[in-house]
């Protein structure tokens, strides 16, 4: 059988055209015994790393001499010039690869996000020397096109013959042979491959429909007439093509010697002063850091740890990486930007010395080697969080320091998720917009990989309807397919040489932003340096709170001034009094706190990691709590396991522990354990955890662990999936959780003010934050055009240590930013406390004034809301001739708004009210209906039946809770946590999903200081609110 190399093949990274993933193509090509496979996505190399990894995996798996071993990957790209000329370029060596990448960058940078633009002139300027060109002639090809191409790639140009059973294949072959004779160009076979097997035709047609934004039945000739564009068996190719054309492909493949493994990475050099080696410089910085951290000298244990870590770093030559991160962090410090590192290498002793993290190694039990392994040969991974409002400064610094040609953001491949897949497939199948929308929306709540049958019924669709059958099949196929490239939240790649010879750069949606075509994982796989520059709202809030406290106390506060391990703070946490606190404020965390009762920093590390879908689905929560409270003995199956699990009482809670267990109990190598971690993150999308599980079970059986323990570990790994939380991240987060708790406990006004000014962030809306602050005795003052600043501010209170909190103008809905600025300037210059004057001096439009009136901010100038509106509407526009036009008008007969009306208007304008809680206004009615206050429920016996009502402030249906819906109701006395089991929710979907004011009758359940109301009957009382606009924040 003749050998063949496929030289023209697009993968799913030619978005909405290629219908097979790179891995599938590689596997299939190996299966068919191809000599080589070129991945030639259209003006892109985004898919080649995945293909490269797939080839690597095949080589690893195959025994020598087996099939698949010989498959060679060629990196190339398909182009279509703006005049329609189409060709494929294949890289032959490192230099030609650099040229190809450079060309892609040039074509991408001159077009909008997602597109490219290439002209003949551009190509002539940027010819990637050494590349092989395959000309793909159109039906009536102009010989001059081929001539031009062969002039650009002299001696490297072939005519690609793609016979796809179009009916006139024979004539086409003759025509191209004639063309070849005419131009003296050789011919080769190729397949214009879009899918790895014929069966993907259905998906390929669907992708075309999505791309063209038309339903399938309207596409007609825009679809490919058949499914021949797949990797065809060599027997068939031999039947279709002359032998010489097939042989030509192999000859071409032989000339392509480039492999991605050649991309050796060089770290930037400018971080080391002249005359120093990276190692000596790093040592020097660390020594200086040690002196700062331990002025009396570091403990021996830490010293030994640092020595050990340094040795490892030196061995693997990672010094420049640590120097890079240190440089960025040092810049942030110098600008007063709060930052904190987290992640695998961040919590090492050397990072503590370098100031990258604040997690004291003496307090933690983290082994550095776990994060940088000799075997994995991958760079360490450090994520650095910065204040979210100032992250851009850091990014701009990096661009400045290394230049845009050496630093760029990694991309994220946005893939199809169930919802988007349903939407696009539904449209392609010609379903009505409203059906598609309904289906897609219902998936938000009832998610999963399949479109579940009962929801179809609810949409009025039949399960056995052929369209639905197709929809379900296609949705399953489409999920996980890449849709487009987007900007990674903060993964920066920094290189020594120009980046554009390493990986293509393209435009991002944000102006002045560029991203590279590879994802974070791709960079990692190729061993390229990457630093995550992330924004974190809580750091902004902490910084602001510290500033407010400094202003208030007259003493400069920094984060290090906050005393550690304050028992009063922990007592507050044990009461679950954590609204606004970082990471542990959610409802689930709040119900865990009184049970876990954190007493020290490490308890917080556990608290943060344990309330995650991973540990919950892995069923680790209850065993841990039982062991912690002494209800269950702590036992370990072996001494090694004890070493790993001792700090969490024998229950694996962190991702690292699971990996370590796989090593010591399952006999995995660290490299395998890392692969396990990766597949854990991806198994929901791609599957493929099976083989690890078998191996793990076997390994544990071999080492004498009993079946039950092994099964339990496997189940835990599965539960961890993508939701497992690493200890290294939790440790850093716990620090911030503690700091924010401390601020909340001692300076509630400053803390709330800082949270409000750092929005959007956290779990709660401003209304809840303010309610909570008032419950803690903070005086909150309304927005007032005479006193409010743009942001919320603190106003000193004569007879109290706590200042009062004044709401800022930014809380007013509809008030323009420019209006706020002009108003503040005008106020600084002084005005005569009169609406007309305000309008004239601040140049406020009627819209802005109306927004101020709606918020009640004009009360001081114009009286109650109705009056304020009347006045605002009546202020004449000033004209140059009559700048202060005034009308004499009679007093209008306007009623003062009732209390309820004011509350409604407050909510409408600001989403919160400082008046009485709406439920307090309704209380007489509610009490008459036998509805109790939230606070009253605590006085009831466990198990008794009661009715409570409140504004629905949160509605959750966690994926880990098998259909249970959690609601949080708020009334004037506090929150009620409601649990709605599926049995109760199915019949009462409408009140459950639609109510803003909801009454719940059910059983009171109290346990460990947590109160739940187990819902029986739900009643929608929204009508009682009139037009009260509270919006529940629905979280998944």
């Amino acid at each position: 059988m003749s050998a063949y190399a496929e030289l023209h093949c697009v993968s799913s990274f030619t978005f909405l055209r290629g219908a097979s993933q790179p891995q599938e193509l590689v596997t299939q090509a190996a299966e068919l015994g191809y000599t080589a496979l070129a991945i030639t996505d259209e003006c892109s190399v985004a898919g080649v790393v995945q293909a490269h990894l797939a080839v690597r995996a095949l080589k690893g798996a195959a025994s020598p001499g087996a099939r698949g071993f010989s498959l060679k990957l060629i990196v190339g790209s398909e182009f279509r010039l703006e005049d329609g000329l189409k060709f494929v370029l294949l890289s032959t060596d490192r230099a030609s690869y650099g040229g190809l990448v450079h060309l892609i960058t040039a074509a991408r940078r001159t077009a909008e996000k997602g597109g490219y633009h290439l002209t003949r002139k551009q190509l002539e300027c940027d010819v990637p020397k050494g590349c092989i060109a395959l000309w793909i002639p159109a039906e009536a090809a102009d010989p001059r096109d081929g001539e031009w191409l062969s002039r650009c790639f002299p001696g490297h140009t072939w005519i690609a013959v793609e016979l796809l059973l179009n009916g006139d294949d024979r004539q086409q072959l003759c025509r191209l042979q004639e063309l070849g004779r005419q131009l003296c160009l050789p011919l080769c076979a190729s397949g214009d491959v879009h899918m790895h097997e014929r069966g993907r035709r259905v998906l390929q047609d669907t992708l075309t429909a999505i791309r063209m934004r038309k339903p399938l039945h309207e596409l007609g000739g825009a679809l490919y007439p058949n499914g021949e564009r797949h990797l065809r068996p060599r027997e068939r190719l031999a039947h279709l093509y002359p032998q010489a054309l097939l042989a030509a492909t192999v000859a071409i493949a032989k000339r392509c010697r480039f492999s991605l493994d050649e991309l050796r990475y060089e770290y930037p050099r400018e971080l080391v002063p002249n005359g120093r080696t990276p190692h000596s410089w790093l040592c020097r910085l660390i020594v200086a850091g040690m002196r700062r951290r331990w002025p009396q000298g570091a403990p021996t244990r830490v010293r030994r740890l640092i020595e050990h870590e340094l040795k490892l770093v030196q061995e693997l030559r990672y010094e420049p990486y640590f120097l890079t991160v240190h440089d960025i962090v040092a810049f942030a410090r110098s600008q007063g930007i709060l930052c904190q590192g987290r992640g695998s290498a961040a919590n090492s002793a050397i990072c503590y010395c370098l100031g990258i993290t604040e997690v004291d190694p003496a307090r933690m039990n983290l082994l550095f080697e776990r994060f940088i392994s000799r075997e994995r040969n991958e760079p360490p991974d450090i994520d650095v969080d910065f204040e979210h409002e100032r992250r851009e400064e850091v990014i701009q610094y990096i661009y400045r320091k290394y230049g845009r040609d050496r630093a760029a953001l990694a991309s994220t491949v946005v893939t199809y998720r169930p919802r988007s897949a349903v939407r696009d497939v539904g449209k392609a199948l010609g379903m009505s917009l409203h059906q598609v929308d309904g289906l897609a929306k219902s998936i938000q709540w009832w998610d999963g990989r399949d479109v579940a049958c009962d929801h179809l019924g609810q949409m009025g669709l039949q399960t056995d309807n052929p369209i639905i059958k197709r929809l379900r099949y296609l949705v399953k196929e489409l999920i996980g397919f890449p849709r487009h490239l987007s900007q990674h939240v903060g993964g920066f790649v920094i290189t020594a040489g120009p980046l554009s010879r390493l990986v293509p750069i393209e435009n991002a949606a944000m102006p002045e932003r560029t991203v590279i075509q590879w994802e974070k994982d791709d960079l990692e796989a190729l061993g390229l340096l990457k630093v995550d520059i992330l924004g974190l709202g809580m750091l902004t809030a902490i910084h602001k709170a510290l500033d407010y406290i400094s202003d208030h106390t007259g003493r400069q506060w920094v984060m290090a001034d906050i005393p550690g391990e304050d028992s009063a703070v922990y007592r507050m946490l044990q009461r679950a009094d954590t609204v606004g606190v970082f990471q542990i404020e959610s409802r689930a965390q709040m119900s865990m706190l009184p049970r876990l009762k954190p007493r020290c920093y490490y308890d917080l590390v556990i608290e943060i990691a344990i309330v995650r879908p991973g540990p919950i689905q892995g069923q680790m929560v209850h065993p841990y709590l039982r062991r912690r409270s002494g209800k269950e003995p702590v036992a370990y199956p072996s001494a090694e396991v004890k070493r790993v699990l001792e700090r969490t009482l024998g229950v694996p809670i962190f991702q690292e522990q699971v990996m370590q267990l796989s090593i010591i109990a399952g006999g995995f190598t660290p490299g395998e354990a890392d692969q396990l971690r990766r597949s854990m993150a991806a198994w929901r999308r791609r599957g493929g955890l099976q083989k690890f599980q078998c191996k793990l079970m076997q390994g544990m059986r071999d080492r004498g662990y009993d079946e039950r323990f092994a099964g339990q570990i496997c189940q835990q790994i599965e539960g961890f999936g993508e939701y497992g939380f690493p200890e290294s991240h939790s440790a850093s987060f716990a620090l911030l959780a503690y700091v924010s708790s401390w601020l909340k406990h001692y300076y509630p006004a400053a803390f709330t003010c800082a949270l409000l000014n750092s929005r959007p962030m956290g779990f709660y809306a401003p209304a809840q934050l303010i309610q909570d602050a008032r419950r803690h005795g903070v005086e909150v003052r309304p927005v007032d055009v005479r006193y409010s600043g743009e942001e919320c501010t603190l106003e000193p209170l004569a007879d109290s240590a706590q200042p009062a909190l004044r709401l800022g103008l930014c809380m007013v809905k509809g008030l323009s930013r420019a209006g706020i600025t002009r108003l503040l300037v005008a106020r600084k210059r002084g005005w005569t406390a009169d609406l007309q004057d305000l309008k004239a001096r601040a140049g406020l439009g009627t819209r802005d004034l109306g927004s101020l009136a709606a918020a009640g901010a004009l009360e001081g100038l114009a009286g109650h809301r109705h009056r304020a509106f009347w006045e605002v509407n009546g202020v004449p526009a000033s004209t140059p001739l009559l700048p202060q036009l005034r009308f004499a008008e009679g007093e209008p007969l306007l009623r003062r708004p009732r209390e309820g009306e004011d509350v409604v208007a407050d909510y409408a304008s600001m989403g919160l009210s400082l008046g009485r809680h709406p439920l307090a206004l309704l209380r007489p009615q509610l009490s008459a209906g036998g509805i109790r206050q939230a606070a009253e429920l605590w006085r009831l016996a466990n198990g008794s039946t009661a009715t409570a009502a409140g504004l629905v402030i949160c509605r959750q249906r966690p994926g880990s809770a098998s259909g249970v819906v959690f609601l949080t109701l708020e009334d004037e006395t506090g929150h009620v946590n409601v649990v709605v089991w599926p049995s109760a929710s199915e019949a009462q979907r409408r009140p459950l999903l639609q109510s803003r004011l909801l009454a719940v009758t059910g059983a009171v359940q109290r346990e460990d200081g947590v109160l739940h109301l187990i819902a029986g009957r739900l009643r929608d009382l929204t009508g009682w609110l009139g037009q009260l606009r509270t919006q529940s924040r629905d979280f998944q």
Partner: protein, 490 residues
């Protein structure tokens, strides 16, 4: 058709009795115009995908006006969603107005869902207001729409009350202020934005508006608001366009003696057609469809339809078409008389005349030929072939009413069999009136999985000893060697 303005009555000073506007609102018109479906849970959706109106069952399920369609669908699995059709609503409204003309000639449309009639002058004729109400009920009942009524001295006030479902009669403008005072602000027919601004100023009922100074109101909320309020209370004239029922032509001709002779019948028809054309000229109109009934003894009749492709009023041509149609019919017996009805009457646009050539142009002649053919064959029997963009040969064309686009140049036979014909084998060779030889191919077509007519075929051009060029295919979905003949090349 055109509407004439009603006489604009001066409103405040005349001594004549004040008008009494009876306003009738059909709250569910948008829903009623849709034929009943299987589900009683129905909602009409606006173009912006929000709910416009709902049936009782839908309301009971919690679906309300203004909510997004998606939210509505989530509430009831049986919900049937209907698109809003403003044109049909207006038609239905005109139908209702047409019936109301039996009570008074002063009928005015108030789209989208109401009509206003001044019944003052009809009160005596029908024996008072109660009489009018009962006769209206009888007139409107066959339409099957629910309605609310209200009567007031100004049309705006009547409409306002009907919108609020207050079925009362108010006489005398001076009583309007107090009678309307309790109506909610949101019943006013104003832009939503203006309503919100008024609401914010503390106005909840019309009473609150009466209290405010006119000048202040006008300065803040515009003159239009004040004008509207004045129209409601009759302080400002409110001329309304009157509704005119559509034109119709109906005429009969008795034959002197029953006859089956075509010439006699044609003569009579000629007279009627001339009459029709005179009627059309008078109204500057033309017609494209005329119905003629030929009456026989014992009140049975033969209907004959005369249709043209454009609106016209050429008596000779119409008669010619009638004759053609008549010739193709066998009449069941002698004809005693004719009746001509014509409801399809529209404004007439004469064809363009060329200055130099006398162009009864070719296109027109062609149209006339087609009309003649249709008159002979009866009904819409003439079809054209259109090409359709589809890979599947049997789906690549269809019958259409007008000549379609040109097909793409592809190797396709001119004659496609209605059904592919299974080919047989002889001596393991394909056989169709002789052994077949494959000439070119294959052309593989794999297409159509999405509409249940999935096809996977390899097409070849083959020839047989008679030199016929055949289009044959192998069906890849069936076991190998299943071949079909699908077409013949010319």
């Amino acid at each position: 058709m055109g509407r004439a303005p009603a006489d604009s009555r001066d409103t405040s000073t005349d001594r004549q009795p004040q008008p009494l506007w009876l306003c009738i609102r059909f709250p569910r018109l948008a829903l009623d115009i849709h034929p009943p479906g299987q589900s009683p849970v129905r909602a009409v959706i606006n173009a912006d995908n929000s709910v416009h109106s709902v049936s009782d069952a839908a309301r009971a399920a919690g679906i309300e006006t203004g909510m997004p369609a998606g939210a509505a669908a989530a509430l009831s699995r049986a919900l049937q969603i209907l698109p809003r059709d403003v044109r049909r609503e207006l038609k239905a409204l005109e139908q209702a107005a047409c019936r109301c003309c039996q009570v008074t000639p002063t009928v005015s449309l108030a789209p989208p869902d109401a009509v206003a009639l001044d019944v003052r002058s009809s009160l005596k004729l029908f024996g008072g207001f109660a009489g009018i109400q009962s006769i209206l009920q009888a007139i409107l009942a066959p339409l099957g729409h629910d309605y609310h009524w209200a009567a007031a001295p100004t049309p705006e006030a009547g409409l306002l009350l009907a919108r609020c479902r207050r079925e009362i009669k108010i006489e005398g403008r001076e009583r309007l202020r107090s009678a309307l005072g309790g109506l909610p602000l949101y019943s006013l027919d104003l832009d939503a934005n203006l309503l919100m601004r008024l609401h914010k100023t503390g106005i909840r009922q019309l009473r609150d508006l009466w209290r405010l100074p006119r000048a202040g109101l006008a300065r803040r909320f515009g003159l239009e608001l004040v004008a509207y309020l004045d129209r409601i209370r009759g302080k400002r004239p409110d001329p309304r366009a009157l509704y005119l029922p559509p034109l119709q032509f109906r005429s009969q001709w008795e034959l002197p003696a029953a006859s089956a002779e075509h010439a006699r019948i044609s003569d009579a028809a000629d007279k009627l057609f001339r009459k029709l054309v005179r009627f059309l000229r008078r109204h500057d109109a033309g017609t494209a469809a005329v119905g003629v009934r030929l009456f026989h003894l014992r009140s049975s009749f033969t209907p004959i339809h005369v249709g043209t492709r454009e609106h016209a009023r050429d008596a000779a041509h119409l008669l010619h078409l009638f004759d053609q149609a008549l010739q193709c019919r066998t009449l069941p017996g002698p004809v005693t008389g004719l009746e001509m009805r014509c409801a399809d009457i529209q404004a007439f646009t004469p064809p363009c005349q060329d200055l130099f050539r006398n162009t009864a142009s070719e296109a027109q002649n062609w149209q006339h030929t087609l009309e003649e053919l249709e008159a002979r064959l009866g009904g819409k029997t003439i079809r054209h072939i259109e090409s359709v963009d589809d890979h599947r040969p049997e789906n690549a064309w269809r019958y259409g009413l007008s000549a379609g686009r040109k097909a793409k140049p592809r190797q396709r036979p001119l004659w496609l069999l209605p059904q592919p014909q299974r080919l047989s084998h002889r001596d393991r060779r394909l056989w169709y009136r002789g052994y077949l030889t494959l000439r070119s191919g294959p052309e593989r077509i794999e297409c159509g999985w999405w509409d249940g007519q999935d096809c996977r075929r390899d097409y070849y051009i083959a020839s047989n000893p008679q030199r016929a060029r055949l289009w044959i295919f192998q069906d890849l979905k069936q076991r190998s060697d299943t071949w079909y003949l699908h077409g013949l090349f010319g």
